[in-house]
């Protein structure tokens, strides 16, 4: 089977040299540990704001802010799932599992699902993480509400707890991993139940105010960010077309572990988050970049779904 990875294509096109690529791939524990320290401090600050605002209506704003940070555990988990956050490989597994527990995303299952996303990026019916371009404004807002997302995530968890997989999941999960995925879901569900039981028994509802409610409030922000990566881009194999990088402010780059450089990441998923800005500079002009950032990406999406621009899914080539 002849498979041309995006980075192999970029090397053949002369977008960068092999030496440059290998230098960008260099691994280190230090950048991630430093950022993790800042991450925990940020969580301490936003969690502190929730505590300070607990007797005021401002608690909802504080929980939203705290939630926006919490849902970005996805970005760290994603980096860990590629084994690029830390040079020490087991640290990626440990931190990835912790992040997955925070946001209801079992790590082993996500690893396999995400592998298939990189194989079949933006191809209808093949990419297991594909977010479709909404048919209209109503569906766009419905997706951003996160209700369909949570429905899918809870269904997924219950299904795996029950030892069942969908046809789509069977395509990317080898049979040797089925038991691992089932037990991962069962352990996760048991831990959530134990925490809930502890809250119920003690009357201390800290996890609700500092974790679950903020995550629910913050998830629409994560849904909006996830939409900017591929939604509205052509449904083709070509990585120069099917993925969007977004130029965003440093606080957002901090939160998303530089995953706004999404096209660069898809080009060379072995390049760690801390080297993505350098890869971005190397691939300048070779990939699709949205200079207006997340808002620009949503303007692009909105133009397509309101008929002011051709829909990217209007002409889907045969798979």
């Amino acid at each position: 089977m002849q498979v041309l990875t995006p980075i192999t294509q970029a090397l053949e096109d002369g977008a960068l040299t092999r030496r440059e690529l290998k230098a960008l791939m260099a691994r280190s524990d230090r950048p991630a540990l430093m950022r993790l320290l800042a991450w925990v401090m940020t969580l301490g600050v936003t969690g502190g704001l929730v505590w300070l605002a607990q007797d005021s209506w401002l608690i909802w704003l504080a929980m939203l802010l705290h939630g926006v940070v919490l849902v970005h555990h996805f970005s760290l988990q994603h980096e860990c799932c590629h084994y690029t956050a830390f040079r020490t490989r087991w640290l990626n597994d440990v931190i990835g599992n912790i992040c997955g527990f925070v946001i209801l995303l079992p790590n082993r299952f996500f690893r396999y699902e995400h592998c298939d996303h990189h194989t079949w990026t933006q191809l209808q019916g093949k990419d297991p993480e594909m977010i479709e371009l909404p048919v209209g404004l109503g569906k766009y807002l419905w997706y951003l509400s996160s209700v369909p997302y949570w429905k899918a995530k809870f269904s997924e968890l219950f299904r795996h707890v029950a030892g069942r997989l969908t046809e789509a999941e069977l395509r990317f999960l080898p049979k040797e991993e089925h038991a691992t995925v089932f037990w991962e879901a069962r352990l996760m569900a048991a831990a959530y139940l134990a925490i809930f039981g502890f809250c119920f028994a003690t009357g201390w509802w800290g996890p609700v105010w500092y974790w679950w409610l903020p995550v629910a409030l913050g998830e629409p922000v994560m849904r909006a960010i996830r939409m900017t990566e591929h939604v509205g881009r052509p449904q083709v194999r070509d990585m120069t077309e099917n993925t969007r990088s977004n130029l965003v402010s440093w606080p957002m780059r901090f939160l998303c572990w530089n995953m706004n450089y999404h096209a660069e990441h898809h080009y060379a998923s072995s390049v760690p988050f801390h080297a993505l800005p350098k890869l971005h500079a190397k691939l300048n002009g070779y990939i699709h970049v949205e200079p207006r950032g997340y808002f620009g990406a949503h303007l692009d999406i909105l133009r397509q779904l309101t008929g002011r621009a051709p829909r990217a899914d209007a002409q889907v080539p045969p798979a």
Partner: protein, 105 residues
Amino acid sequence: MMREKTWRDLIAVADLEPGDATPVALEGRELAVFDTRDGIFVAHARCTHGAANLCDGYFDGRRIECPLHQGLFDARTGVALAAPARVPLRMVEARVRDGLVQVLL
């Protein structure tokens, strides 16, 4: 009738990427030459999981990581070390003679 294997010149040691994986083509075969901390080893270059060319992946001196899904192999033995890689790499017997990497094929 099976052809008897013979030692063939593959690449000069001086032309290898030092401490890294070097892609080499030999009669239609895509091979990866790994300059490991324990010596030079040669394998078929395609990942046994997703068929990406392993030479474009991260190499830490002993282990090669697939550039597509980050599956992991021991570059000295071909053993698959981490998911989604499960099937070992096809290793090719190699030696160094007079500054040349030779393979038994």
